[in-house]
């Protein structure tokens, strides 16, 4: 077989590559990264799912942007959706309906976009849990952890501005709540609220502003920071699970080409496939059923997109503590709506430093991953914190719970108020005990094998 002749056969691609290299001196750099090692573990692919969801979001979002009109001026609906025919609705809501019912492929694009947003935040969250519980955020990766936390915040922002755009009854209610929480910030709240909306609620400019945030500023931030996230990753190389081969001074894994490239492409295709299936077959945010936004209308039960659920739950569960000292009123939304979320994000963002300073007391550079049992205190706090977020997320659906369990709303809320404090503490403590037990058993087993060197040598 004359494989050598075949492989030297010229292809147009070779010519392009040579042409580019003649001008850009690419061979050296490409060679170095062509075989970059990617540790092969499924949990390393979760972040990629987030990345691919973002790509889907950018493409479907661009399509939607060609049709969406960020305008609250009223028009008379004359489209094919019978229940709303002849009704005065905003141009924004009208364009969303047109996109859903009249633009060919519009509905599937809109639904894929919405599903992709949900999956995007979900993948970021799971990726973050993986990084947290394996200690992958430790030095030298503190910076990339912070970039990741900011990415999560931007994803929240992009999600909230996005689902506020259609100007339907649900999104308008969400905006109203957001504005009210802003309004409650001492001294500057009313000013911030007025500046955000261009005047007193509902303002005149809010859709235009949300639109420019949603299609320009937030995506620019997301793309820029994802770029930084990946650049830092390449610079610092991957972490890896310790093994006989994998040490703190090497990276053991599959090469970028062909293995990782094909794996990632397959994952990309699967991500698009699942999002297309969700977008095609599972209705999401049917704004025509909610109807256009009227400030005096509302429907129940009303839940925001899932990633807002924990904020919603905090607002619902927080006691009605509102007081006025020396003429300064502290609204009952200030703590659960502003201070507590701010505190949670600050602690999460500062976690690498908290972890190094108070938990592991370890400021060295690490490239090997830990198991949850290796640092029981971190695992306990992480599990407890996660269960806390989960329980206030559940509280975001207290009305649904109440109607589905035929229990009174007040009873449910009372249970949840106690539960969100007690259950996370309990489960966090159990997680800590389990991790500690596993760690101690291992240490004991290791001591036992060390103390029997003779039998070890015979094996």
């Amino acid at each position: 077989m004359s494989t050598t002749d075949e492989s030297r056969r010229q292809s147009p691609l070779d010519d392009v590559a040579r042409w580019l290299d003649d001008r850009l001196r690419l061979a050296e750099g490409t060679q170095r990264y062509w075989r970059k090692a990617f540790p092969a573990h499924w949990s390393f692919l979760i972040g990629e799912v987030a990345l691919f969801s973002l790509v889907v979001l950018l493409f479907t979002g661009t399509f939607l942007a060609f049709f969406y009109v960020p305008d609250t001026r009223l028009v008379v609906y004359d489209g094919p959706y019978v229940p709303l025919q002849g009704q005065e609705i905003s141009a924004a809501f009208d364009s969303t309906l047109r996109l859903s019912f009249e633009v060919r492929g519009g509905l599937v694009m809109r639904q894929i976009h919405h599903w992709a947003a949900l999956v995007f935040v979900a993948a970021i969250t799971v990726h973050m849990l993986r990084v947290f519980f394996t200690g992958a955020f430790r030095r030298p990766r503190e910076l990339n952890w912070v970039v990741g936390v900011i990415l999560l915040l931007l994803a929240f922002g992009a999600g909230f501005t996005g689902y506020s755009l259609p100007d339907d009854l649900l999104s308008g209610t969400g905006l109203r709540i957001g504005y009210s929480v802003l309004l409650g910030i001492p001294f500057v709240g009313p000013l911030i609220g007025f500046i955000a909306l261009g005047g007193e609620y509902p303002g005149t400019d809010v859709l235009g502003r949300l639109h420019i945030l949603h299609v320009m500023l937030l995506p620019a931030g997301l793309i820029g920071l994802v770029g930084a996230h990946l650049a830092i990753l390449v610079r610092q190389k991957h972490t890896q699970k310790p093994s006989k081969k994998a040490t703190n001074t090497n990276v053991v894994g599959e090469p970028l080409f062909p293995n990782q490239t094909l794996t990632s492409l397959a994952l990309f295709a699967f991500t698009i496939a699942v999002l297309a299936m969700l977008g095609g077959l599972f209705e999401i945010n049917p704004v025509w059923l909610y109807g256009p936004y009227e400030p005096f209308q509302v429907f129940a039960p009303a839940q925001p997109d899932w990633y807002m659920g924990w904020l919603e739950g905090l607002l619902r569960l927080w006691p009605n503590w509102e007081f006025t000292i020396l003429g300064l009123t502290i609204p009952s939304t200030l703590l659960p709506g502003v201070i507590l979320p701010g505190l949670i994000f600050t602690v999460v963002g500062a976690w690498p430093w908290i972890d190094a300073r108070w938990i592991t007391k370890d400021h060295e550079e690490h490239h090997l991953l830990q198991r949850p049992r290796d640092v029981p205190v971190r695992t306990g706090i992480g599990v407890g914190g996660f269960v806390f977020l989960l329980s206030i997320f559940i509280a975001g659906g207290n009305d649904v719970l109440a109607s589905n369990t035929a229990t009174g709303l007040q009873t449910i809320s009372a249970i949840l108020r106690v539960g969100t404090i007690v259950v996370p503490l309990l489960i966090g403590w159990i997680a800590y005990r389990i991790a500690k037990g596993l760690k101690e058993n291992e240490a004991a087993a290791a001591r036992a094998t060390r103390s029997e060197p003779a039998s070890g040598a015979q094996q």
Binding site: G189, I195, M277, G280
Partner: protein, 310 residues
């Protein structure tokens, strides 16, 4: 085939020769290649089907389904390709500590000192650097000013609504209401005449039962009470009325307000009662407001109790 050649030879096991294993491996790869080919063919067919669906008018479910099959099949084909045909491969890369070598650090520090020395003329013109920093910071602050253009500051908007002395109470259609139109337990969303649909003036009128004692804060017409419809918690319309217990319920965060007790908060996160609109009946027999709400409506804010200074 190239992949199997690259792999290190395995030790013979179970009496099979290396040649046998090699043949088996080849067979496995051929089989995998066939499946990958089938997958890519399915992707082609599904993509063509998507074209057909689209050209014949489009249908959301079929579009999603064909896209799912097309991309899913590409994914399956690629996965077979990388897992079976290419096969696993492990490489080891070296890693170095992130910190630069001491020599590099020192060299750069020297370079920095000497070039900064040139800029500040041996440190004697350092004040220029400080002033430039100051100029940069001031300019940065100045560039924040356009943000202020985004909206007017609050004046008295948060303290005022469209209600006022003698303003008629109208329903969603703009029709004025008479007390005799209202029956017990009836709930009507009302507005000041001429401001139907207003976000901050929206109010809820409730017909009261005669046999329940009331404890209200403002003068009202017998058998009727009007409260601001904006929840004092986070501003949602207080849209539900549980007539049996006389409670207005906000569907957003489930604050409940006692209609017979001056909209006192009975449960939930709201921090203060719904403001009550003082009402009376005018000479023509229609419901009118005696004045605007006497406290600000809607979610609380920091200078709520200070008034608007007017």
């Amino acid at each position: 085939m190239a992949a199997s050649d690259r792999r290190p030879p395995r030790t013979p096991a179970g009496g099979r020769t290396k040649a046998d294993q090699w043949r088996e491996q080849r067979k496995r790869e051929d089989r995998a290649a066939r499946w990958a080919a089938v997958s890519f063919l399915v992707a082609i067919v599904a993509s063509l089907a998507l074209f057909v669906v689209y050209i014949s008018g489009g249908q959301a479910q079929l579009e999603g389904l064909t896209l799912f099959i097309a991309f899913g099949a590409v994914g399956v084909g690629l996965a077979i390709w990388v897992r079976v045909i290419v096969g696993p491969e492990e490489i080891v890369e070296d890693r170095y500590p992130m910190r630069s070598e001491d020599a590099d650090r020192d060299a750069f520090e020297e370079l920095y000192q000497s070039t900064m020395g040139e800029v500040t003329v041996g440190g004697r013109r350092r004040f220029l650097l400080r002033l430039l920093t100051g100029a940069g910071l001031s300019l940065g602050l100045a560039l924040l000013i356009p943000i202020r253009s985004l909206g007017p500051g609050p004046r008295n908007e948060l303290f005022r609504t469209e209600w006022g002395e003698g303003v008629r109470v109208v329903d969603e259609e703009g029709e004025p209401l008479r007390p005799e139109d209202i029956s017990p337990d009836q709930v009507v969303t009302v507005f000041p005449e001429g401001a139907t649909g207003s976000a901050d003036s929206q109010a809820v009128l409730v017909g009261l039962r005669k046999d329940v004692p009331t404890d209200l804060r403002q003068p009202t017409v017998e058998g009727i009470v009007v409260y601001s419809k904006i929840c004092t918690h986070a501003g949602c319309p207080v849209g539900l009325y549980r007539a049996a217990v006389g409670e207005l319920l906000c569907p957003c965060h489930q604050s409940t307000f006692g209609v017979y007790d001056g909209a006192e908060v009975l449960s939930g996160p709201a921090g203060r009662p719904l403001p009550q609109l003082p009402i009376e009946v005018d000479r023509e027999g229609y419901l009118v407001a005696i004045s605007d709400f006497r406290v600000p409506v809607g979610p609380s804010f920091w200078n709520l109790t200070r008034g608007d200074g007017a």
